[in-house]
């Protein structure tokens, strides 16, 4: 095991330990609630990064599959009786696998187009799924919403199981990202991001690589949607497939650093608590949206590469400066 791998494992273990300990140390329900949202966005952003960050194809429709995951779990409750308490969590992998499989044909069509068109086609996917949720009333109950049974968790720590489920998904997403980055698939994806035509020319199976990354990303996204639906116990089309959730996940990835491993999670940890604060302070006056938009624009214009890459650059520069200074001193001493 080389040093980088060991450091990575230590970093991951520390993150997981702090994450798991959090709801057992902090008991205030409102803080754990913010924790659930933070970890949810971190998982969504990490999953988004797994496809869009590594391939360079910006997908604006990921939240459509978040909504599909939410509705799948809701519909499973109503029609198949997947139990209560902790049992529904075990249905999640099926939801994830199913939604991701179902999304492959549509992804294949969308991936026939190039970057800009792809972004737009995925954005229309978001509206397609929202329309479906409104229109397929027999399954989704349309705009009157779909009710899920309220789980019988102890009222004091009601949020804790959901927090832990979201955290498990975040760790899964991070693990997948790390696996992908370390594998041949990761190299293929980065080659696609740099120059797709050249990658294809060199024999990279570009469509297969993109579809695998898409599949993994959607599977996690759909499972997060499922947990979220169970947490809220009530889903509406406008909230299950919400463009704001999409833009939130994208913003967090940009803030933390696209294409990095930890960037999206860091972006979420910075942004979600700030967002919740703004929501409680400005929510009533609709100015919340304006504030959110302003933050987004500032991030994109001033820090387009994100926190992590900018930090790494600064670090590399300061090391470089130190090295030149040390060299200069050494040279001067040699001259003396």
């Amino acid at each position: 095991m080389n040093r980088a791998t060991a450091a990575g494992i230590v970093r991951g273990g520390a993150f997981a330990a702090v994450g798991i300990a959090f709801p057992f140390v902090v008991h205030a329900a409102w803080i754990v609630n913010i924790g659930v949202l933070t970890v949810m966005y971190a998982a969504l952003a990490t999953a988004w990064n797994l496809f869009s960050g590594y391939t360079g194809y910006i997908s604006l429709g990921q939240v459509a599959f978040f909504g599909l995951g939410a509705y799948s779990l809701g519909i499973a409750f109503e029609h198949f009786g997947i139990g209560s308490g902790y049992n529904p969590f075990w249905a999640l992998p099926l939801v994830g696998l199913g939604v991701a499989l179902a999304s492959l044909p549509i992804a294949w069509i969308a991936l026939r187009t190039r970057h800009m068109t792809f972004a737009i086609v995925t954005l229309t996917l978001l509206f397609i799924v929202q329309q479906l949720a409104f229109n397929l009333r027999s399954l989704t109950h349309g705009s009157s919403g779909l009710m899920l049974p309220t789980p019988s968790f102890a009222i004091d720590n009601y949020d804790r199981p959901f927090y832990l489920a979201m955290l498990a998904l975040l760790l899964l997403a991070l693990g997948l990202c790390r696996l992908v980055l370390r594998s041949k698939l990761g190299l293929m994806l980065l080659a696609i991001r740099e120059d797709e035509e050249k990658a294809r020319g060199l024999g990279v199976r570009v469509t297969t690589a993109k579809l695998i990354a898409w599949w993994l990303s959607i599977a996690v996204t759909a499972m997060v949607g499922g947990v979220w639906a169970y947490y809220l116990t009530f889903i509406y089309p406008e909230f299950a497939v919400d463009p704001l959730v999409m833009i939130g996940a994208v913003l967090m990835t940009f803030l933390g650093g696209r294409g990095t491993l930890w960037g999206p999670a860091i972006g979420a940890i910075v942004l979600v608590p700030a967002q919740q604060y703004m929501l409680t302070r400005l929510g009533a006056s609709q100015l919340y949206l304006v504030g959110y938009a302003a933050v987004f624009i500032v991030v994109l214009l001033l820090l387009p590469r994100g926190i992590l890459p900018s930090l790494q650059d600064a670090l590399a520069r300061s090391r470089e400066r130190q090295r030149t200074r040390r060299n200069r001193i050494a040279r001067r001493e040699a001259a003396v």
């Binding site: 972004a119 737009i120 509206f127 304006v290």
Partner: protein, 291 residues
Amino acid sequence: MHGVVQAIILGVLIGGVYALMASGLTLVFGIMRVINVAQGALVILAAYLSYALFTHLHIDPFLSILIVTPAMFVLGVAVQLVFVRSLRGPDASELSLLVTWALALGIEGALSAVFKTTYRSTLPSYTYHSWNVFGYQVGVVRVLGFGASAFLLGVLSLLLTRTRFGRAVRATVQNPTAATLLGVDSNHVQTLSFGIGVSMAAAAGAVYGVIYPFNPGSHYDLISRLLSIVVLGGLGSIGGAVAAALTMGVVESVVAVEISPTWAAFSFFIVLIAFLLVRPQGIFGLRERTL
């Protein structure tokens, strides 16, 4: 049969208005590879401006186009200078998508703060008048809206084909580097074109407010249609955008009459996906290579 013909007439009339909005969007893309996701929000902003002019100053909504359009042109130029121009580098197009989306959210928030979220409509005295042409009912406002849109599209096409500025624009679309080498000031062309794209949204917005009720959230519905239209037409092609907008208008109103109004908006997305399966570059689009 009568119902279908009636639906086609309505569809073409509505499609014309969408063509105006979409042509602005696709023009801007052709010149600077920027998708203005805020186009829908700008349409709604113009609809509110025209609504305010009508309710407070009693200016006819179709006349207010003459006021709203120049005002929004200035706004468009400002948006380009402040937000869009500063985006550089290989990811500029994709970043612009996100910046303009954020702008759309900002406009939505500001409009909800000022006008609240109740649905509004600009209702001049002739709103519900209609003509009877060979047994088909044709609403006055829809004809006026279509006429205004067709007129403005004509002006745009004359501007692009008959003037020096138009030639500079077309040169930039074909080959930005060569155009710059031949003395086209690309910054100037980009800024003015963005302004023109936004004024198209403005004029269409004044019409939109007369035809449909709207609230600040309506821009999502608009932008999803507009994006589908420009992709179906082929990004950057104005002719394609017009053809796709008319297709959308007709498909939606025929489905609304023959199948069910709830599936009308959905039907056009299906047309788009099916079409992309056959022709990923859209009706008149060129195959998009690495940008």
